[in-house]
């Protein structure tokens, strides 16, 4: 009785498996072209710069380790943002939640007596990081659930507030003279990858990456396999329909925000427990905002988040490797271009794909 849907045939020449990948790939291509142009303005050869970039990252174990290290934090903040978006919320506060999580991990690590077995200390500190992130997310969560306050604005404001709060805590309560960090934790350090394979020696990569990957698997399972995930996505797609379906949208929002904050907070483990063993002012700078890009490029899917976190980590580490040829500001610019290109190209390419499919129907 209805107009029949066109059969889902592929546009000629484009294999089916490629189609979902096409939009992000197009975006990356655009970004690469813009990057080339920037490199040329500095009088350098794009080929040489990209070669150095790859060599300095995936080209050796140390570089790879650094990429993994940076990706770990980004996976966490990317998941945090992606989960929020699935529930219809923009968590721009991953930045602050990440910092708060790191601080909480350090504070608990300091409270624990030295010599606490790692099997106890690590879980306790990791839980503290998650709780810290959740605490930061609770404010926007409650305000959104209770008053419908825009989480975009509240999380932005919370970033400023958390920064000031942590600054106060570090400056006046837990300071080590002439530094911006707390004392080293007594227990709860997460071992480096180098402890297992000397290949990674020197790199900051540590076993937090397992937590991050675990979080990605968990998030995927939670979103797509559980009833809570079903309700979360419904609340995100159509809050009115969710409410009709007996779902308490407000409490879904609150719960999701807490979970999202916990994921962001988990990212703090990477630096604090896995790398420096102390909380340092500003360690999170930018990773929260970059999480938005990671989620976007990863299309809010946990697997996509992992891949795009690796991509952005590569760019970030690569910036250092090519510093001799082009200033690191260029990579900042490039990162922004990637985000804009993805945000614009994805809907556009999808529309084109649909149109091609329709025409051939």
């Amino acid at each position: 009785m209805a107009t029949d849907r066109a059969p889902a045939v592929s546009p000629p020449g484009i294999p089916r498996w490629l189609q979902p990948l096409l939009p992000p790939l197009t975006a990356l291509l655009i970004a690469a072209v813009v990057g080339d142009l920037l490199i040329l303005t500095f009088g350098q050869s794009p080929r040489e710069v990209f070669r150095l970039l790859i060599e300095g990252t995936w080209g050796n174990a140390y570089g790879l380790g650094q990429v993994l290290y940076k990706a770990t934090t980004l996976i966490c903040t990317g998941l945090a943002v992606a989960l929020g978006i699935r529930a219809g919320m923009f968590n721009i506060g991953a930045e602050g939640q990440l910092a708060l999580g790191g601080f909480a991990a350090a504070a608990i690590g300091l409270l624990l007596p030295a010599g606490t077995p790692a099997l106890v200390a690590i879980p306790v500190c990791v839980a503290a990081a998650c709780a810290g992130g959740s605490a930061g997310a609770a404010v926007p969560g409650v305000l959104k659930a209770r008053f419908g306050a825009s989480e975009v604005i509240v999380t932005i404001m919370m970033n400023f507030i958390i920064a000031a709060l942590l600054n106060w805590a570090v400056a006046t309560q837990l300071n080590v003279a002439e530094s911006l960090h707390t004392p080293e934790i007594h227990a709860g350090a997460v071992p480096r990858l180098a402890a297992v394979s000397a290949l990674f020696s020197g790199s900051a990569a540590n076993f937090t990456i397992l937590f991050a990957l675990g979080a990605a698997v968990f998030t995927g399972w939670w979103l797509f396999r559980t009833r809570a995930g079903y309700e979360l996505r419904a609340a995100g797609l159509q809050p009115d329909a969710a409410e009709y379906g007996g779902i308490r949208v407000g409490s879904v929002w609150l719960r999701t925000m807490l979970l999202s904050g916990a994921l962001a907070g988990l990212g703090g483990v990477n630096y604090v427990l896995g790398y420096k063993q102390y909380y340092e002012e500003g360690f999170a700078a930018g990773a929260g905002y970059l999480g938005i890009a990671v989620a976007l490029v990863g299309r809010n899917h946990p697997a996509g988040v992992v891949i795009s976190a690796l991509l952005f980590a590569t760019l970030s580490q690569g910036a250092l490797a090519v510093n001799a040829l082009v200033p690191k500001q260029m990579v900042d610019v490039l990162t922004a271009i990637v985000i804009i290109a993805v945000a614009t190209a994805v809907p556009e390419v999808e529309r084109l794909l649909r149109a091609v499919r329709g025409k051939t129907a």
Partner: protein
């Protein structure tokens, strides 16, 4: 005296907010989320410094500042209107871009990662004039064309919105773009214009910062675009209430500056005041806000 000093300081601090918030109101009322105010301001500040430096005239700087705002606004419009990209994402990306690009060009133009050289600004009645009394020198800071334009920017936006045909279309585009399209008016064109105009205002906000300081400094907007956005929301997208919000936030900051001298509470806590105030406002504890219905929505 100290009340006057307080008010004047408030006004000075409010100037960039008033500019940026004007842009915010225009953009958001047309349906485009203005998370980019920060980036527009920063680019405006950089271009103003550049223009003023190379021409030697702050007026050229002013034009360049406005132009810089328009330039990034155009990028924002291109992505979010022409290509229908998610506006929050593009907004954040453009903020990142503005920080990166201004640094990049700072390096390229002045071989510095943090400051431009000193550039001419508007100091018509600066100290040399001989105004030795304090009160006079206090008023001096208002004798700046940008402060004056800043003061009338929100009234101007109010007039555009409520008294011109373009304003009518703009408001309609932000509430119900389908209705605008159905009468043969291009929603995209209305929004483009609104966003470009918003870029002018925000760019001037940055211009004020740069010319007041006689230079561009890396990241010199320091979150002011976000405060302005908060003022837009706190003011319920209504130019007059937004103006009040800008002044209120500026007063809170002035208060902070003065309170801090007394060292009653740690500066970090005083610093939080505007942000806390904003959260309280957004939560609707002091009154409900209602955003334009089509804000952030892609128009087909």
């Amino acid at each position: 005296m100290s009340v006057i000093a307080f008010l004047i300081q408030t006004l000075r601090i409010a100037t960039p907010y008033l500019f940026a918030a004007s842009g915010g109101v225009l953009s958001e009322r047309s349906g485009i989320i203005a998370l980019t105010l920060e980036g527009w301001m920063l680019t405006g500040a950089f271009c103003a410094a550049l223009g003023s430096f190379y021409s030697g005239s702050p007026w050229v700087g002013l034009l360049c500042g406005a132009g810089g705002g328009v330039l990034v606004a155009a990028l924002h419009a291109l992505a979010s209107i022409r290509y229908r990209a998610d506006q929050v994402v593009v907004g954040i990306a453009i903020n990142l871009l503005a920080v990166g690009a201004t640094r990049f060009f700072l390096r390229l133009a002045f071989d510095s990662s943090s400051n431009s050289p000193r550039v001419p600004g508007f100091d018509w009645f600066s100290a040399e004039g001989g105004a030795s009394q304090q009160s006079a020198s206090v008023f001096v800071s208002l004798a700046n064309p940008l402060v004056v334009i800043g003061l009338i920017s929100l009234p101007l936006v109010w007039w555009i919105l409520n008294r011109t045909p373009f304003g009518l279309r703009l408001r309609a585009a932000g509430e119900k773009p389908e209705a605008v399209a159905s009468v043969g008016v291009s929603v995209a064109r209305v929004r483009w214009l609104a966003v470009l105009l918003a870029g002018v205002f925000a760019g001037l906000g940055g211009t004020y910062l740069a010319l007041e300081q006689h230079q561009f400094t890396d990241s010199m907007t320091a979150g002011r675009g976000f405060i302005a956005l908060a003022a837009v929301i706190f003011g319920n997208w209504e130019p007059r209430r937004v103006a009040v919000a800008c002044l209120l936030f500026a007063a809170a900051e002035t208060f902070q500056i003065r309170l801090q001298g007394l060292q009653l509470i740690p500066s970090q806590f005083v610093e939080m005041i505007p942000y806390l105030l904003t959260i309280v406002a957004v939560a609707g504890i002091v009154g409900r806000t209602r955003q334009p219905s089509a804000l952030g929505r892609v128009a087909d």
